[in-house]
């Protein structure tokens, strides 16, 4: 076991983890933050996307020990004072979700995209979302939501 200290959504957590524990399972099972989903076992689907020090990462590709001393933001940490983040609001307004399983990862990825490119074109959004899979929406409304969320985030 290894002792780590990780700040998640502004709260510092001290914990013992097995060295093999993935960040996503540390978040889900040890911290009980189940908003971050696991959709595959090959780092293909992006459902587990979170922010590590402000950068979007697939939390199934990061070991919990690698997050020692770092800051993590999950979907639970995105809304502030009960008000949805503009990207969450955009997904709602543009019907950018159906079953909602890919949605937390999709929104975290989208926020990351807009951080790097505040005014993305449709083609840029589609390319940038390549690591996040959705099976319900055909991506049509997700792409619209990201563009709309980008405008609202300015």
């Amino acid at each position: 076991m290894k002792r780590i200290s990780v700040t998640v959504n502004g709260v510092r957590h001290e914990a013992e983890v097995e060295p093999r524990t993935l960040l996503v399972y540390f978040i889900r099972e040890q911290l009980g933050l189940t908003g971050t989903n696991v959709g595959c076992d090959t780092s293909s689907c992006g459902a587990c996307t979170v922010h590590l020090n402000g950068q979007s990462v697939k939390s199934c590709t990061v070991l919990a020990v690698q997050a020692d001393g770092q800051e993590v933001t999950t979907i639970e940490g995105l809304a502030t004072n009960g008000k949805l983040h503009p990207m969450q609001q955009a997904f709602h307004e543009e019907h950018g979700l159906q079953c909602g399983f890919c949605t937390p990862g999709m929104i975290m990825a989208a926020v990351g995209i807009v951080d790097e490119n505040p005014d993305p074109s449709e083609a840029e959004v589609r390319e940038a979302l390549e690591g996040n899979l959705c099976r319900c929406t055909g991506y049509h409304n997700i792409v619209r939501a990201v563009i709309s969320g980008a405008k609202a985030s300015v």
Partner: protein
């Protein structure tokens, strides 16, 4: 009922969203109960093998392990095997199918043993330590191989691998072909597909040992059906079982089943007296969750020299996999009435043979039989067009069924509403047909290596499963009704209890829209309850684009009954006759005396206090409806696809996708469009990207998301949608269904476009998925090149 139209037809933002947007969803994997233990399965690595010995000792000695069992150890748990509810013929062969194999494994992924531990990781680690001694047996993985003389038998107890043959005919098919001027024949392979709902399957069972009852949370589309069937498998009284489908992350048919792991977790919970949880990894799910499609098709059209179709002769073979899952034999039948598409004719013959192979069982995947049928007819009609010298539009308009209600189709169905030509015209207008053709001609004339193609798919489908008596005639093991309860609460709010079980479709929002208009309430005053057999005791659940046209109608009718009862109470309190009352916006008023009113909220309170009710009236204001539809519904549409094919690389790029659907009355256009987007994307994926393949020894080659291509946003264009509106005559709202239409329509639209792009090269049949390599080889072969 005097219903306002405040919400129905509007793009009301979804009530489901807030929890899903903020990470508060109740997906099964998110749930924990105290004392919970975790199950991990040991699965066969062989396509076929005899189990000689299962040694659990090392697993049992591993840390944190609670128990471990082989199939033989668990044999006493099962009062019945895993169910198959659609024995399509009287002589169908139904193999035993146990949750954990006892003697022989028949596909890679067949369960052999289970380990239970206090953590998921410990269970997975210990499962690796189970030592199984197998004797390998010969395998067969494809339809033709399984039907070949002397093929290895998947089930030794059957004399060959044929499961059933089902036939269906109308008219005199031989006469139709005898008098035909032209006959065209198409042969198509429908690849095996992996549904890939984004949420992998999971089960959590909490026993109550003293009471002898069980609560199961499952990633299921069918909590009510699962409750009945699991009680039979486990020999538990149905009244002791509660099944909850909490938030479910997509299904597409892959969660329309009763699975081994559900039965197993109940059995383990019973034996151990502990809550037991199982969560599939994605790759485990690829082995242990049903696959879809996998058919070989032959279709012949008999026609006049002018291109008028006389008859349809269809023969298909369908891969069932190693066992029969819940409705697998019936899946091809759902397409078996539709190989004539939206076209007329005199005669029809359909024959389907189901075949066992050493592969993961197949079953219903979005569209279930209808995408395959639509593919065959929409490809074949292009062959006919070419043969008789008509274009894609002319051949269709020549053969369309006439506009009308209850129009007989050559396939033996009566289509509730047909109006096809205006729908196609709208699609052509939206596309700008002539401009697309002009650009196509220009590129060809210039000798461009980026050629354009335009593909048509003018489909009709049958959905809204289903009239119970029709299901009976097809040997289906259940009814096709659905149930709703609408309950006004004393404070003036309302609960809508539905037997449908949504997993992304937006039933909470749509049922709220229907009820809010019918009752005259604010949409936020309506709560929709679903997916828990203790809360909603009756339901047939969600699949086959049935929820709105069956379950939604039950909601609508139950609302009507609530309003009728409220009216009698209002009349009593206002001291008038019910006939003197008008109902509008939630308020009853005396005709001609508009200030004498009773709001439905007041009547709900009056019904609850029961202080003054009409004589003989029971307290309370609620009503039930169980709606059994009189007919299927038959959505139709025209999907047009423009592709650019790179003749040097074989790459296919979709430039435009235009879809004009007719799904009757629309409750929420935003949700309808979302269903079309997602459905079209899945059909495009089947056309260009997805195919599950097996090695001859039964190994699934496409064993994870690494080598099975679920396309991303980068692979799709935005879609251009519109609708025509021809109300269904099968229900009082005129609704049809839209969950599967996109998937049914889109695969042939894409492949027709690829074929059209390459028409000048005379490449022959375009295989699916039309990968760059395959398309490049077609082009090279046509050129006589060394491909």
């Amino acid at each position: 009922m005097a219903a306002g139209q405040k919400y129905v037809g509007g793009g009301v933002p979804r009530k489901e969203d807030p929890q899903l947007l903020t990470g508060q969803a109740t997906f099964v994997e998110n749930l924990t109960v105290p004392g919970m233990v975790h199950a991990a399965l040991v699965r066969s690595p062989y396509g076929a093998a005899r189990i000689k010995k299962v040694d659990l000792s090392a697993a049992l000695a591993a840390p944190d392990v609670v128990a471990a069992f082989s199939g033989e150890d668990l044999a006493d748990e099962w009062a019945a095997g895993l169910p198959m509810a659609w024995p399509v013929t009287d002589d169908i062969r139904i193999p035993d199918h146990w949750p954990v194999a006892k003697d022989v494994v028949r596909y890679v992924g067949d369960a052999v043993a289970v380990v239970v531990a206090t953590s998921r990781a410990a269970a997975a680690d210990a499962a690796e330590l189970v030592d199984v001694d197998y004797e390998e047996l010969p395998t067969v993985v494809d339809i033709e191989g399984a039907m070949a003389p002397g093929a290895p038998r998947v089930h030794e107890s059957f004399e060959n691998n044929e499961c059933y043959t089902w036939t269906h005919s109308t008219g005199d098919i031989d006469a139709a072909f005898a008098k035909a001027d032209v006959v065209v024949k198409g042969e198509y392979t429908q690849p095996r597909l992996i549904p890939n709902a984004m949420e992998p399957r999971a089960v959590l069972v909490q026993p109550s040992p003293a009471a002898g009852d069980f609560t199961m949370w499952s990633t299921t589309q069918i909590p009510h059906i699962a409750k009945i069937l699991l009680s039979m498998i486990l020999g538990i009284s149905e009244s002791k079982m509660r099944v909850i489908a909490p938030d479910v992350g997509g299904g597409f048919g892959s969660k329309l089943n009763v699975y081994a792991e559900e039965a197993l977790c109940i059995a383990l919970a019973r034996r151990l007296g502990l809550p037991v949880k199982w969560v599939a990894g994605r790759s485990e799910g690829y082995l242990a969750t049903i696959h879809g499609r996998d058919q070989l098709q032959e279709i012949e059209l008999a026609a006049t020299s002018e291109g008028k179709i006389l008859g349809y002769r269809v023969k298909i073979r369908a891969n069932m996999g190693a066992y029969l899952q819940l409705v697998a034999p019936g899946v091809p039948l759902l397409g078996g009435f539709l190989y004539c598409g939206s076209y007329g004719g005199e005669a029809y013959h359909f024959e389907c043979t189901g075949v066992f192979t050493n592969t993961t069982p197949t079953d219903a995947y979005r569209g279930a039989g209808r995408p395959e049928a639509t593919y065959a007819i929409e490809r074949a009609i292009e062959l006919l067009a070419r043969k008789v010298g008509l274009d894609s539009i002319e051949i269709r308009k020549l053969n369309y069924l006439p506009q009308g209600e209850m129009v007989p189709s050559p396939g033996g169905l009566e289509f509730d509403s047909t109006n096809y030509a205006p729908n196609l015209d709208r699609a052509l207008e939206l596309l700008g047909h002539d401009a697309v053709r002009a650009e196509q001609a220009e590129r060809r004339a210039q000798g461009s290596t980026k050629v354009l193609g335009l593909g048509f798919s003018t489909f009709v489908e049958m959905c809204g499963l289903a009239p119970s008596q029709v299901l009976a005639s097809l040997n289906y093991g259940a009814g096709g009704w659905d149930a709703a309860t609408v309950r006004m609460l004393p404070t003036g709010k309302a609960e809508v209890v539905t037997g449908t079980s949504p997993h992304g479709q937006g039933h909470v929002t749509c049922w709220s829209q229907i009820a809010a208009d019918a009752l005259g309430l604010d949409i936020d005053d309506i709560e929709v309850l679903h997916g828990d057999t203790h809360v909603a005791p009756h339901g047939m659940n969600t699949y086959g684009s049935r929820s709105l046209s069956v379950g939604g109608i039950a909601v609508y009718e139950a609302c009507g009954r609530v309003v009728e009862k409220a009216k009698t109470i209002a009349a009593h309190l206002l001291e008038v006759s019910p006939e003197d009352l008008a109902f509008e916006n939630g308020s009853f008023s005396v005709k001609g005396v508009p200030d004498r009113t009773k709001a439905i909220q007041e009547l709900a309170y009056a019904a609850w206090t029961a202080h003054s009710l009409p004589e003989g009236t029971e307290p309370g204001l609620e009503a039930n409806c169980v709606w059994d539809p009189p007919n299927f519904t038959y959505p139709f549409g025209s999907h047009l696809c423009v592709v650019e094919v790179d003749t040097e690389t074989g790459d296919v790029d979709i430039l435009r996708y235009v879809a004009v659907d007719d799904c009757g009355t629309v409750i929420n256009p935003v949700i309808v469009e979302g269903q079309v987007h997602g459905g079209v994307a899945q059909g495009i994926a089947a056309a260009l990207y997805e195919e599950a393949t097996y090695a001859e020894d039964g190994t699934l080659e496409t064993s994870s998301m690494i080598n099975y291509l679920v396309p991303s946003a980068a692979e799709f264009p935005s879609f251009e949608l519109d609708r025509t509106l021809t109300p269904s005559t099968s229900n009082p709202l005129g609704v049809k269904g839209i969950g599967e239409a996109g998937t049914i329509a889109s695969t042939p639209a894409v492949i027709n476009a690829v074929a059209d792009a390459l028409a000048h090269l005379d490449v022959g049949e375009v295989p699916i998925p039309a990968t760059p390599e395959r398309v490049w080889r077609l082009i090279q072969n046509a050129k006589g090149g060394a491909a």
